[in-house]
């Protein structure tokens, strides 16, 4: 059976039920409490979601969809946002900027969206930022990680409608360096994606690690173009350089391929310390299963076993029951986005963009991934995601994080104004 159809139909069903419930409820139950005082929120709250649903990375879109749908269903079942039903529409925005912009404009100008969320590629996020500024709608980015979005577009150019709920490249570059500084490794090499994400994270890793551990050397770089299916030539480059540590932000399906091919080449026997900043993504862990070697450093934008809180455990249990999957990081960020909108609208007492922006800036959100704070200056959510060493666990058919290291967000997130001394880690006040 086609997965889209089921989810879409389920979603429609859920929508109809909640619509009926609100229609009935409004006659019988009087709005109480906070919402009674907010008559200026009218009609359904419409959220337009932009993600990739075709091509090689369409699986990410599916994970976005699961999280977002579940969030909306829960919120609607509990009475919606400020008593209003939430409507969600998801559109295939591919990985290209024009499709993303067209969909955003459709959502706002034609469908009447109050909020926008999603966005997978950094290029899309950067292209979309000025557009949402013009459209004057809040955009919550749930996947694209480029630090330029929050540092340049939000902080420097003042596009205040843009927020980001997932960790940016700081997690991949800076936090990795904090983990790497305590490893007995003096020479590092990389196989990184041949695009901005790869260049940026590797530079961040080099800068921060260079400051944390002077004398460490970076001996080889091999850049893999988007869509690489044969990493053997890159693995050769790295093995010729004989580094002690390997760092790679290759992600999604390509990481599965890289790990399998590196294993066949005996790379993990020769290089003892390997870091995959996006290795804790569910598609990678599930795709590799037992083939993921032990004792690899992995991280992500969220890992379903962290934090060990009731909120998270319940979320994971419900998600697993609903979709028969463990939540991927984009599922969590999409899910929490719905709650972030709910909290902000209810706090603002309005769904007007200006007021919601004010409510969101500086807002704290208790989410499955833990306690998030949307930093006022750059609208970046501050929260922790662990780095951990892979190990097998009989409870799961894939590797999970064994030993974990959690670095506080304020220690490795770049700080405003993002230029000059004291804006890049390590910070003096944190030791």
């Amino acid at each position: 059976m086609d997965q889209h159809e089921t989810t879409r139909r389920d979603f429609l069903k859920a929508g109809l039920v909640t619509a009926a419930a609100t229609a009935l409820g409004s006659g019988i139950v009087k709005p109480v409490g906070l919402w009674a005082a907010t008559p200026n929120i009218k009609g359904p709250i419409k959220i337009g979601y932009l993600t990739v649903l075709s091509g090689t990375l369409a699986g990410y879109g599916e994970f976005h969809k699961m999280g977002a749908l579940m969030g909306v269903e829960e919120i609607n079942a509990a009475g919606g946002i400020a008593g209003n039903k939430v409507e969600l529409e998801i559109r295939d925005s591919t990985l290209a900027a024009p499709a993303c912009i067209q969909n955003a404009r459709y959502f706002v100008d034609s469908w009447g969206a109050d909020f926008l969320a999603g966005v997978d590629s950094s290029g899309q996020a950067l292209a979309l930022a000025p557009v949402v500024g013009e459209l004057d709608r809040v955009l919550m980015v749930t996947h694209a990680a480029t630090e330029k979005l929050t540092e340049d577009e939000v902080f420097k150019k003042g596009i205040k409608q843009v927020f980001r709920i997932c960790t940016p490249t700081y997690q991949d570059g800076n936090a990795a360096a904090f983990v790497a500084k305590d490893l007995p490794v003096n020479t590092w090499a990389t196989i990184n994606p041949k695009y901005e994400y790869g260049y940026t994270t590797w530079n961040m890793f080099k800068d921060t690690l260079g400051k944390l551990k002077p004398g460490v050397k970076f001996t080889a770089e091999s850049w893999a173009p988007f869509g690489t299916t044969d990493f053997r030539p890159h693995i050769n480059t790295i093995m010729d350089a004989k580094p002690e540590g390997l760092y790679s932000v290759v992600w999604a399906g390509e990481l599965i391929t890289l790990v399998k091919q590196a294993k066949q080449a005996g790379l993990f026997d020769k290089i003892k310390h390997v870091m995959f900043p996006v290795g804790a993504a569910m598609d990678v862990l599930e795709g590799l299963g037992p083939e993921m070697p032990d004792n690899i450093w992995i991280s992500g934008r969220y890992f379903f076993l962290y934090p060990d809180s009731d909120r998270n455990k319940e979320f994971v249990a419900r998600f697993h029951k609903r979709w028969n999957h463990y939540p991927a990081y984009v599922s969590e960020t999409a899910y929490s986005t719905m709650y972030a909108f709910k909290k902000a609208v209810e706090a603002a007492g309005s769904k007007e963009t200006g007021k919601v922006v004010d409510a969101l800036a500086g807002m704290e959100l208790d989410s499955p991934a833990g306690h998030r704070v949307f930093r006022k200056e750059d609208h970046q959510a501050m929260y922790e995601v662990p780095w951990g060493l892979t190990k097998a666990d009989p409870k799961y058919p894939f590797k999970i994080m064994g030993k974990q290291i959690v670095i506080p967000a304020k220690e490795f997130f770049n700080r405003p104004p993002f230029e000059g001394p004291g804006t890049h880690p390590p910070f003096k006040d944190s030791k």
Binding site: H4, R8, L53, S54, R91, D92, A96, A97, P98, I101, Q102, N103, R105, Y106, V108, D109, S110, S122, G123, L126, A127, A129, P130, V131, T146, K148, E153, K157, K194, Y195, E196, Y199, F226
Partner: protein, 317 residues
Amino acid sequence: MNQYWKYFLMLGCLGALVGIGFVSGPFVLYLATRIMILCIFALGYNLLLGRTGLLSFGHAAFFAIGAYGLAITSIHISAHPLLGILIGVTAAALLSLCIGFFCVRHTEIYFAMLTLAFGMMVFALIWNLRSITGGDDGLYGISRTAISLGIVNIPIRKDYQFYYFVLLFFVASVFLIHRIYSSPFGLALAGIRENHIRAEFAGLSVKAYRLGVFTVSGAFAGLAGSLSALLESNVAPFSAHWSHSAEPVLVSLIGGLQTFSGPLVGSIVFVALREVLQRFTYNWMFWFGVLLLAIIIGFRGGIVGSISDAFRKYSRP
């Protein structure tokens, strides 16, 4: 009689286009602007494909150069949109002249493959020259500043203002390309398509004409690229990818290769179809493919070609 109808139809279309700017919501305006830009791209392209019979997979490169030309001008030199467009179009024309010089030695599949190779080399360059092009992030935040003409400043920032700005270029392009079709140059191109050996023996330098039309269509691709950079406020390397070159091919074939207005109708169908399909299904690619098959097999002369054939058949007996 026929002529009057044509003028009437043209005036009606023009009136409708002007009217859209007054009455439409912003999304329709945006789509209409996009369709007009695609029209410029496809009309120019069809000079090459439909008129001269050459299939190029490299025109995305010229589109991208036009867009990057405008973006780089606007970031580093001057945000004057007309200057950006001028530089974008000139750059695209020069590049197509250079690439065309090599490509017009061949025809058919060899020409298609050669343009594919050169186009992808441009794509690789754009992807790798990060300091100039911004790599895969592209260049973003291109602003639509007012056009200053000495004393008056014409704003194009708002959607409807920009719509009229593009409409102006659209009408000019349609007019220009229509003139090219009925000009000696245009006739020579048709002759080359029909029979290039005969054309050579009629005294035409076939290579020179092919290079000429390649450059002209490259310039129009560049114009479309510049306008699209202004519309979307960004430019990304995928605009140079070969799959983007397939867009004007699709549009021309949908509308009809051998007709002047084919690309116009094709652009509308292409953009509208995708937009409408997306409202009903996540599997829009599947249905788009099916409809394409139906058009290729059912309407061999494209939509315009088939309709006018049918009309002719109907009216004759």
